[in-house]
Symmetry: C2
DNA sequence: CAGAGTACGTACCGATCGGTAACATTGTCA
DNA sequence: TGACAATGTTACCGATCGGTACGTACTCTG
């Protein structure tokens, strides 16, 4: 506990670097409240750092937002691919496992949807850094879905992939609108019907 | 032209009342750019009026946003029910007609989705006037969809209604993310498959 | 034509926005 | 011990935010 070896640079609970604290705090605040709704002042205060530290690590608030979305994308990819471990060589099983878990989250209270989707809506300008990162991530997801649908040997993999993407995005936003007991509860069933109909 | 009768209070092309100009301008700007992105200053400038005129007609920017969303809801309802004229006593035909037209709009460039959905994301706070109006509208839509699905005599009308709602909302947001050739192009096909599978 | 009432504009408010300059302090490693 | 990098401190910037006190022009009515 107290006498840690020198090779460990920092204990897990120790105060990390300012840039990391900012990144983590920005993640939570941007996700829960929205990017436009949160000022840099609030971020540095909640992170226990100061504004110059923020601007030493990030060019601007917009770039911090872009960094947040890159972090979000990374975590999303992990959670999307996580079920692969339980379903080796079974893209359908993997996909449905993710959708089932999403269905539960998105139809319970206090759900805030997908940070990437939300960012596209908050920043409709295609040239905005946040918009760009979010759209790139969504394009990659679409491609990944097409890949999985191709592996499922369905009739029209691209059509199925897009259909499932619509259900996915619909769950993200409906989760925020309806909260507990929202339409996302039927996500798994709807996806199964669509897959069934495509075989 | 010049000598209009006294009984006509104002010609159609004359400058309307400040409140109306504000409402119309706010509608366009809020919808295209987002509510948080637009300041009251820009609204009054583009409307050719001044700030006091805005605050005489609306309590606050938040209330103006709520008014915008009520206008949006009204227009939405009209466009949603419009196909009913061509499909009397045919809820399935009406619904598919709306979805087909949405599919076209949402998979072409410059689409900005649903103003109500966007507002829920911009204002996650459930007590915010804009959030409230948007959620109320969405709840009504969900109920209307259930009603239509019940009329279609399907197996589980509530499940089908929620599934279609997911596709609908998914199209709104995906339209913004992917633009031309986005996943919303398959909306009609996916809806038909789900309906088919529910009969 | 007087006067009330309505409709609107001029000019301004304090607060907060994102962002920065200059300097003091700390911890680390050589 | 001394150099260096990272961070904190303080004070500030111009711009913009939502919002308002107050004066003015028009129109309808008596």
């Amino acid at each position: 506990m107290s006498n840690r070896p020198k090779s460990t640079p920092a204990p897990v609970e120790a105060p990390r670097r300012a840039a990391d604290r900012i990144r983590d705090t920005a993640f939570d605040l941007f996700y829960r409240e929205g990017i436009r709704a949160i000022g840099v002042e609030e971020i540095v205060t909640r992170a226990g750092v100061t504004k110059p530290s923020l601007y030493r690590a990030f060019e601007s608030k917009d770039e911090l937002a872009a960094a947040y979305l890159r972090d979000y994308d990374q975590r999303f990819c992990r959670s999307f691919e996580a079920p692969a471990a339980d379903h080796p060589g079974d893209p359908k099983g993997q996909l449905l496992a993710y959708l089932d878990s999403l269905s539960v989250r998105a139809s319970s209270g206090d759900y805030r949807g997908c940070g990437l989707t939300n960012a596209v809506i908050e920043y409709p300008d295609r040239d905005h850094p946040a918009h760009r990162v979010a759209v790139d991530s969504k394009r990659a997801l679409r491609e990944r879905l097409r890949e999985m649908c191709r592996d499922m040997k369905v009739r029209d993999p691209d059509e199925l992939a897009d259909s499932l993407l619509l259900l996915l995005e619909g769950s993200y936003v409906s989760g925020q609108t309806f909260g507990e007991g929202g339409p996302a509860r039927v996500l798994g069933a709807a996806a199964r019907r669509l897959i069934e109909a495509s075989l």
